[in-house]
């Protein structure tokens, strides 16, 4: 049996037998080289209560080259792309070691949720938000967890029921959005521009309203 297959099969079996870690690994189709890993958001973080799924691809040279992982569940985190789910984590790149396993890597991902590294971001906009106002960032991250990862929210299990609050999704203040909407701009455009400019918290004072308008006038 080829070494890679043996190792991956063992890793999957080990993970199934280990109930304490709360990490699941499932097959996507019949191949053991394309998997879905999942874990719960760690307690005491904005991701608490959410369940996160990770796409796992085992490369041919595994375990001598790192596994390829990305979030399937959308997540608001400085080290994860809010659009693609791509992850910035050293052990998935040059700090990889062949003794690391799928389980240990998923646990590392889980702990990445506990301790974001905004200075080495994957998603610069999210990282800026984190640096500007941590409380506002956490509120948004919690909202994303509620919407995408089935986390508990004010609306209970209000997943997919009712329209999503786009302003909260972007981590913005609805008063700010209304202020520019009243100038005649479309809501989506206002949200887009304010998000890009990081129009949040203390940073609002640094941004001239004229610049915002100028930005919105750009085609």
């Amino acid at each position: 049996m080829d070494a890679r297959l043996r190792r991956v099969n063992k890793e999957i079996a080990d993970c199934k037998n280990d109930k304490s870690s709360n990490i699941d690994i499932d097959l996507v189709d019949n191949s053991p080289f394309h998997l879905i890993g999942s874990f719960d958001g760690p307690e005491g973080t904005p991701y608490e209560g959410g369940h996160f799924e990770v796409d796992i691809v085992i490369p041919d040279s595994y375990p001598f080259q790192p596994v390829k992982m990305k979030f399937i569940t959308k997540i608001y985190h400085p080290n994860v792309s809010s659009a693609s789910g791509a992850i910035c984590l050293d052990i998935l790149k040059d700090a990889w070691s062949p003794v690391l396993t799928l389980k240990s890597t998923l646990i590392s991902l889980q702990s990445l949720l506990c301790s974001p590294e905004p200075r080495d971001p994957q998603d610069a906009e999210v990282a800026k938000h984190y640096m500007t106002s941590k409380s506002s960032f956490e509120e948004t991250a919690r909202y994303w967890t509620e919407i995408y990862a089935g986390g508990p929210g004010k609306a209970g299990k209000g997943k997919a029921s009712g329209p999503r609050d786009e302003i909260a999704m972007a981590g913005l203040d609805s008063a700010h959005v209304q202020q520019f909407q009243s100038l005649g701009f479309e809501k989506s455009k206002v949200i887009d521009v304010l998000r890009r400019m990081n129009y949040r918290g203390a940073n609002v004072a640094n941004i001239n309203d004229d610049r915002v308008v100028e930005e919105m006038l750009k085609p």
Partner: protein, 564 residues
């Protein structure tokens, strides 16, 4: 060729000096030779011309020999094994002086940083790691970290002991305590190995890991597979793991050589794909202002590159900083230059480039809000009521505006003049493959239609060789001329350039003309004569330019980055 004799007389005195030095060098030791590669002439080049440079081509084995002597030097100073000395040198990017200084300062810290010993390497550790290790391995491990010991061992003895350690490690674990490789979980594996950190894995996994590092990542600094373990695999260990995998071992050795070469200012790796030669040339940064160090590696005449910059072809007679400037300019300008020239005009007030993509002739500059007429370029205010019909072409204001415009256009024109000629020669050069094929066909045809033998028709190939070589020179003369300050010197330069160009075009036409069996004999004579002439003209251009650099005759019309 005749020209070689002609110039050798001038340089006779110069070469005699070099010859003396060579004699001295012959008596010297091997290490001295390496330190002074200038004295060793490149094989094949009989006498150096003024536009040529002293260099030496080294094979991979030659460089390995140099590396070996560096390693041996460190071994003899510190009394460490060859493997350890090699890791130390690699860790310090082959900077001997820095290594010696730091090592004398704190050998333990350096050994840890260089991946020779694990950080918490303390005497109590063997007890903690269980009884799996034999005491003999502990002893031999101590020999690996020789620096801590005051006694200096002979290198060979130390190597032996490190080998015995590796062999000892390779033995299977005891039967009562079956060890399963934590990477492949294959319980049929019996051969395990570890570095000094004692992280044991099966030989198969080590092999796959090293192969993946070497082949996929082109990495020769291979750390232990354990997480956060910075101990690095020695050459002996790598060789032992790879065993029969000669491909990966060969690549590993090549990577070591590349690492060494990249940290030596006097060495440069041949940039041609899968070439493993190195060129040694001790030209200083400062002399790049006067010399063009074009070198050819020992692998073949086509592996020609510049030692001073990254241009992988012959850019003589232009010096590196100017060649770089020109290539940068071409890269920036040529694509867009033509389009800009034919589609835009400049605002006569702020010189912004404006494209007129529709509408009437009443233009308002988006940048400075200046209003003008697209046809006469004069201010729109003078146009009165004749809105869509410009009849004020000869007004003074309009004329001035157009003059200013034409001046700025002239600079573009000037650039394009040089660029087009440059590009033209480059294009012809690119077609050389076809030309060679065509010439070969012709040579075969000649053999049939005349009584000439294969040897006798070689003159055609020689002519093509020469044409291509000269086109490269010509190409770069246009880059040079573009930056030369206007004056007598430039005129002389351009005279030489013109003579060479004419000679090349003549010869080029001759070799591409259809074959007439009647006149093959005369054709042969003509081609041979012109080839000699072209060769000579090329030498004149190269010689004169090189001499000009040494004499400081050339002045540039714009500041050259990298020149003082």
């Amino acid at each position: 060729m005749s020209s070689a004799d002609e110039y050798s007389d001038d340089d006779a005195g110069y070469y005699d000096e070099d010859d003396d030095e060579m004699l001295v060098d012959d008596d010297g030791s091997a290490s001295e030779m390496e330190l002074d590669p200038m004295n060793d002439f490149h094989e094949g080049s009989s006498r150096r011309k003024i536009y040529e440079i002293d260099y030496e081509s080294l094979s991979q084995a030659d460089v390995e020999r140099q590396m070996k002597s560096e390693v041996e030097y460190i071994t003899s100073i510190f009394g460490v094994t060859v493997d350890v000395a090699s890791l130390l040198l690699r860790h310090f990017d082959w900077n001997k002086e820095k290594l010696i200084e730091k090592y004398m300062d704190n050998a333990t810290t350096v050994s840890v940083a260089a991946g020779i010993t694990p950080p918490e390497k303390a005497p109590k550790r063997p007890a903690a790691s269980g009884g799996r290790l034999h005491s003999s391995s502990e002893l031999s491990r101590e020999s690996l970290i020789g620096p801590r010991r005051s006694s200096r061992r002979v290198a060979s003895a130390a190597t032996k002991s490190s080998k015995s350690k590796l062999l000892e490690r390779a033995t299977p674990p005891r039967q009562d305590e079956p060890f399963v490789c934590p990477i492949c979980f294959d319980d049929t594996q019996t051969e395990f190995m570890s570095l000094v950190c004692d992280h044991k894995y099966c030989k198969g996994c080590w092999g796959a890991y090293i192969e993946s590092k070497v082949k996929t990542e082109a990495e020769s600094w291979i750390s232990c597979m354990a997480e956060d373990c910075d101990v690095v695999a020695t050459d002996t260990f790598v060789q032992q793991v790879l065993g029969e995998d000669k491909g990966t071992w060969g690549r590993f050795q090549e990577l070591l050589v590349r690492h060494y070469v990249s940290h030596r200012p006097e060495l440069k790796y041949c940039p041609y794909p899968s070439c493993t030669y190195t060129v040694s040339c001790s030209i200083s940064r400062a002399s790049l202002a006067t010399q063009v160090p074009i070198v050819t590696c020992g692998n073949g005449a086509t592996h020609k590159f510049c030692f001073g910059c990254n241009v992988d072809s012959d850019h003589r007679p232009v010096i590196c900083p100017v060649a770089k400037m020109w290539l940068q300019k071409c890269h920036d300008d040529s694509e867009t230059a033509n389009w800009i020239k034919s589609n835009t005009k400049e605002c006569s007030k702020c010189q912004s480039t404006i494209e007129k993509n529709g509408g009437c002739n009443h233009m308002t500059c988006k940048k400075c809000k200046y209003e003008f007429c697209w046809v006469c370029m004069g201010p729109w205010s003078e146009h009165g009521t004749s809105w869509y019909n410009c009849n004020r072409y000869d007004e003074k204001a309009s004329k001035d505006a157009r003059d200013a415009q034409s001046r700025s256009r002239a600079s573009l024109e000037r650039y394009l003049h040089y660029y087009n000629r440059w590009a033209n020669h480059e294009q012809s050069k690119k077609l050389s493959v076809e030309l060679y094929a065509k010439t070969e066909k012709k040579m075969e045809e000649m053999q049939i239609t005349s009584e000439l033998s294969w040897i006798e028709v070689q003159f055609m190939k020689k002519a093509v060789d020469e044409v291509i070589k000269c086109r490269t020179t010509l190409m770069w003369t246009y880059a040079m001329a573009y930056y030369l300050e206007f004056g007598n010197e430039k005129e002389l330069f351009e005279d030489n350039q013109r003579d060479l160009e004419r000679a090349v075009e003549d010869l080029s036409e001759l070799i591409e003309s259809p074959l007439d069996p009647e006149v093959i004999k005369t054709l042969r004579q003509k081609v041979t004569d012109r080839t000699v002439y072209v060769t000579k003209r090329n030498e004149i251009v190269l010689e004169d330019t090189a001499r000009g650099f040494l004499e400081g005759r050339w002045t540039w019309n714009s500041p050259v980055a990298g020149l003082d």
